[in-house]
């Protein structure tokens, strides 16, 4: 048991699928306000860890503590309400909604309109209209922050891949998370878009004070922005440390470059 208060930590997390240990006794501590990255080859179990955190999978054993509470066993929507938002490796946007509506859905937990006030919204002064207007202001700020003006009223299904990735990031931000899980945010982006992404992630950390947990394959991006890095392979942790330490570690090099 940790004796001091910790923002987020995982202890001995394990989950197996039909005899395959997807995640095997993984544990780490994330400092509030930092960027913590998880790296590893394909199939190493990175996304599985994210799915355990957001409540989509239930781990076989271990603990996930967020703000002093064990969140294992909670439903995904409850975990979202605690302030954990995420993006997905293979985009999970609401494709037949516009960018605006996608981001507004991100405000879901903060809004109050229920079925009755929603159905009877006819005037400017009505509760639902006020609710919509108030939260739209917040969403417009995110649209400005991520430069999404051009996509605002377009259906997201037809937008370029990089833009869709950004909208997913925006939707997660709209939830006002304390902890943000980004699953390969730069996949499918060109180098210019990646540069922008680095700035935005930095902005989110510095200005919004959001703690970020990152899965990424782009080593340059990882080394640029991470405070700490955990490398895993076959579900097992290889090592954890600062970017400089991880870069030099022989096991990490082996996992990435193969044995000679």
């Amino acid at each position: 048991m940790p004796t001091t208060y910790q923002f987020f930590n995982i202890e001995n997390l394990s989950i197996s699928f039909g005899g395959l240990m997807a995640v095997d006794k993984v544990g780490f501590v994330v400092e509030q306000g930092s960027i913590f990255s998880i790296i590893g080859p394909n199939g190493a179990g990175k996304t599985t860890i994210f799915n355990c955190i957001s409540g989509l999978y239930r781990p076989d054993s271990g603990k996930i503590n967020f703000s002093g509470e064990d969140i294992i066993g909670l439903k995904p929507h409850t975990i979202a309400r605690l302030g954990i938002a995420r993006t997905f490796q293979n985009i999970e946007l609401f494709s037949r909604m516009t960018t605006m509506e996608n981001l507004m859905l991100g405000r879901h937990i903060h809004m109050k309109t229920g079925i009755w006030s929603g159905a009877t919204f006819y005037r400017r002064g009505s509760r639902a209209a006020q609710d919509e207007i108030k939260h739209r202001e917040h969403v417009e700020e995110i649209i400005d922050l991520l430069d999404l003006q051009a996509a605002r009223n377009q259906f997201v299904g037809g937008l370029p891949y990089g833009t869709q990735k950004l909208i997913e990031l925006g939707r997660a931000l709209a939830l006002e998370p304390k902890l943000l899980l980004l699953d390969e945010p730069s996949a499918g982006m060109n180098s210019e878009e990646k540069q922008d992404l680095i700035f935005w992630i930095k902005d989110i950390q510095d200005e919004l004070g959001v703690t970020i947990l990152l899965i990424e394959h782009d080593m340059k991006l990882i080394m640029d922005i991470s405070d700490r890095i955990l490398a895993i392979n076959f579900g097992k942790p290889i090592m954890e440390g600062t970017p400089a330490e991880v870069q030099k570690h022989p096991e990490v090099l082996k996992a990435y470059l193969g044995e000679d």
Binding site: F94, I115, T120
Partner: protein, 349 residues
Amino acid sequence: MDMKRDYYEDIQLLDSRILWFWFIMLVASLAIFPFLAPNYYIYMANYMAIHVIVTVGLNILVGYTGQISLGHAGFFAIGAYGTVLSMTALHLPFPIALLAGAFIAAFFGFILGLPALRLEGPYLAIATLGFGMAITQVIGRWQVFGGRMGIEAPDLSIGSYILESDRQLYFLIVTVAFLLTLAARNLMKTRVGRAFIAIRDSDIAAETMGVNLTFYKTLAFAVSAFYAGIAGGLMAFLLGFINPSSFNFILSIYFLAFVIVGGLGSIFGSIMGGVFMTWLMLTLDKVQELPYLGSILITFSERWMNLTGLPNIASIIFGLIVVLLVVFEPLGLYGFWIRTKIYWKTWPF
């Protein structure tokens, strides 16, 4: 389009003067219609309005939330019997009885929504189909419901005002349909509707964004059943008499066809679907009265089918039109509407 000055102008229903104009024209023509049209067309309009209510409700479930129901005739029946029995047995006044019937339907909708949490696609279709068929069976066996013989709808009065003719019914039914359609549109544009659509497009993303799947899926079923319940309650008075066979499972299929022909995930499409398909149904019943074609069809029917082949002919033509519509415009009538609009906007280019 006019310049928008604040966010409200972006979300309001009628965001330009032209739309206001058409809206007022629509209300005015709906109000004048029963004074000009012959009685049969008023009856048909009532039928259409009731089907619009069901279609809008079913579209909330199928088109917006991405669930399926092949049992909506069951909710329709619950609404009809619930309303009539609340009036005859419990002596409730009509408006309260209508709401009671609809809320009972909504409650059953909630119950049917529970298996929907685990079932998807074809499995859910079968579960709801079973529900719809069970409802008519139960109603047919119980003497309280009049058994197979059915029951008669009591006199309809609101306060001291008695509604007897189709024209008087028209004002009741069309007003209710109008308000419920407006309510559905508003609901889909605000928080609850967005949660429904989110579940349809990606339920995993929806729940990780804080949408309670259990709550919203069952809510979608309940709302949808509520609409069907109201429609059923009104239908009892339009027909004047209800029996279990008025709510067989073919009716559920028809309802689903209304939604798909109108356009999945569109309130305006639901209106078009309900109106057009009702017109088609009622008109095809009289297909033999058509000049030339009618007699050909009758000969055809007597030659190749049995003597009572006429309903078959009507069904075949109905089916053919539905198939052609869906093949050529998957978005349904709403798709046609969108294309026409774009055509006129860009004309003559």
